[in-house]
Amino acid sequence: MEERSSDSGGGRMEQNIPDYKLIFEKEGVYLHTNAKRSNQDTTIPGFIRVVERAGVPALEWSPLEDEGRCAPAVLYSKKDGEGGEEDTHFDPGYEPDWAVISTVKKDREHVPVKESDQWSFSLPLSELYSLRRARFSLGRNFLVLTSRGGHPLPALHFHRGGTRELLRALHHYIVLDPSPVDGRLYLAYPHETGALSHSFDRLHLLDDGSDLVTRFIQDPYATTFAGFELINCGVELGPRPDVTRGQPLDKWEEFLDPEGRVTNPDKIKELVFRGGIMPSLRREIWKFLLGFYPWNSTTKEREDILRFKTDEYFRMKVQWKSVTEEQEMRNSLLRGYRSLIERDVSRTDRHNTFFSGNNNPGLTLLNDVLMTYCMFNFDLGYVQGMSDLLSPLLFITQNEVESFWCLTGFMELVHQNFEESQEAMKQQLLKLSILLKALDPELCDFLGNIMKTKELTKQVKDKVVEKYEAGLGYKKISRALNISLSAIKSIIRKWKEYDTTANLPRGGRPPKLKSRTRRK
């Protein structure tokens, strides 16, 4: 963090202000006037600062020669209906309805105002609505700030870098959340105490397939570890509830009414959730849990269902069984599924007696149920991992037809994990990373740093440039700093081209919306 104590010009000029604290300062920030208000200087060199005035954090810019002046020319402060009376001090008891009251410089009491001074401004951070960081030519960043009143402030060009550091300094006070539609645009929010609820808002954001998800699909690791700086305030979780494992469900008949309907499915689910099921009852209860039998079916109805489902199973089984070799020759999809299944069946739970040894009938059952599943859902077909799901189902039900329908019920729940796009898998990883970020930010950062392909710190990169300037060759630098040659090469290349070792923002807006999402 580039925090400087107030020994520079910036500090001196503020010393007569009570309760003033300089948090961040960066020189070499040029304000670009639009030549609307002034037809002279279109760029004015100056300072950007984050300050606390009477405890209220604000973002300020003032011109270089603006020493000895204490108050910015333009103040963005609370609307007071007074027709633009400017405050030089901020009301600590402000309400969140700040707005620009004037962008026109009023005459200051004593100090004559230079042309450039009229551009200085102070924006309380609560008043910051958005911030767009974009790249000008030569890797120079510029920021465009917008106040909650909707007024864009003049663009600030960071000729000597520092936007990243500034954003970091701002992070102490506000949340800067990348806009879902434009990665360079950050929306400002106050830090909330309800961080957790906020984080789950963001989960909703994911659920409706918005930007983050699409971005994640394009670059899962980078997005996961870069996109969630939001939850960096430690999340306060409530005390951990005391949970003990319950007894396995060992009664069944007493949950059935005289016709055989399950009287209280929720109770059953609760008991199963808490304690599992006695092995001897699994065969029966799994069929309910996996949707083969409806909870409210009677014993009689279940007999009918079984008969009907048995017919349906064999009808589908016959479909692939009756394909001749010649037909299969011309059906690459079916041939592909068959080959995949054959490969995996021969290596599924072979240590289990149900599947061990050669020519075990268990293997034939695995094969036949999986082949029939392909006919049931030909679009999905066979995906690696399915054999592992079917294996315990076959073992528990000991029945081809029942295991098949339990598999279809199970796949109904988890089929997304098997889809080619792997979107569900990515979403789950994404949620995992969000949880990790909230629960163990340190570990998350650690993983994030590893994933960031060993990015070198700016200090190290500067060292590389320093050595290069001293005339050392790439190999020598590499050896001296123990950094790979290719890294050194790219640091120097960037330094030559952009005259900086800092990270540059990506050029242009990354494509985020898939055509399908865009249509929504």
């Binding site: 490969r343 690696q384 991992g385 592992d388 040659l485």
Partner: protein
């Protein structure tokens, strides 16, 4: 200066190929020196680390065992990232798995290149050679031609079960990785002369600044 400077290399190596061709078995044989006929299907990706002594330097191979069905997903790009070399494996008893080799190679080359734009060193493994050979692998010349056409640096008939040629194939790959790394260094910045003291052969103008 070499003596007190024990260098270490870490290379990420991909092991890809259709499912059931023996990728996991090859890695287990190479790293753990054993074989089991009952390996499960690999879901997603698995890892293993092999440490080699190479000309008094340490070479660590990080082997990425990528599930055979992954080609159909779009995660391979993530898995391939920053790899320096690859084995593409097929099963000699299944000609179809050789057909898939070209697709795997294509997938690899389209998603992964070195900094100088070249493809990573890739060795083709004709696995399960203990179970008989098919016509193609029986024909060394044909295989050489296949390797040339598809950009493999070499090929080996291997057997994870009988431990045939696995070390040899790995050494071949490491050799090529080290060579391509050297190549990378040489192609660093072609239009820049790096002054070096050792470089006493011509070309250095006396008025040029000499670094130390």
């Amino acid at each position: 200066m070499q003596n007190n400077h024990h260098k270490e290399h870490l290379y990420k190596i991909l092991v890809i190929g259709d499912l059931g061709v023996g990728k996991t078995s090859i890695i287990k044989r190479y790293v753990h020196h054993n074989f089991s006929p009952n390996y499960r299907a690999t879901i997603g990706v698995d890892f293993a680390l092999k440490v080699l002594n190479w000309d008094q330097e340490t070479v660590r191979l990080q082997l990425w065992d990528i599930a055979g069905q992954e080609r159909f997903g779009n995660m391979t790009r993530v898995y391939y990232r920053e790899a320096m070399g690859a084995f593409i494996v097929f099963d000699v008893t299944r000609p179809a798995s050789l057909e898939a080799v070209a697709k795997w190679k294509e997938d690899l080359d389209s998603k992964l290149t070195l900094a100088n734009g070249k493809n990573v060193a890739t060795v083709l493994l004709a696995n399960k050679c203990d179970q008989g050979r098919d016509v193609l692998t029986n024909n060394g010349i044909k295989m050489e031609q296949f390797c040339q056409e598809n950009g493999f640096v070499g090929w080996y008939e291997t057997s994870a079960k009988e431990n045939i040629n696995i070390d040899e194939a790995a050494n071949c790959l490491v050799k090529h990785i080290i060579a391509s790394e050297k190549d990378l260094l040489q192609s660093e910045v072609p239009d820049t002369i790096t002054p070096q003291l050792e470089n006493d052969k011509g070309g250095t103008c006396s008025s040029c600044f000499r670094s130390q």
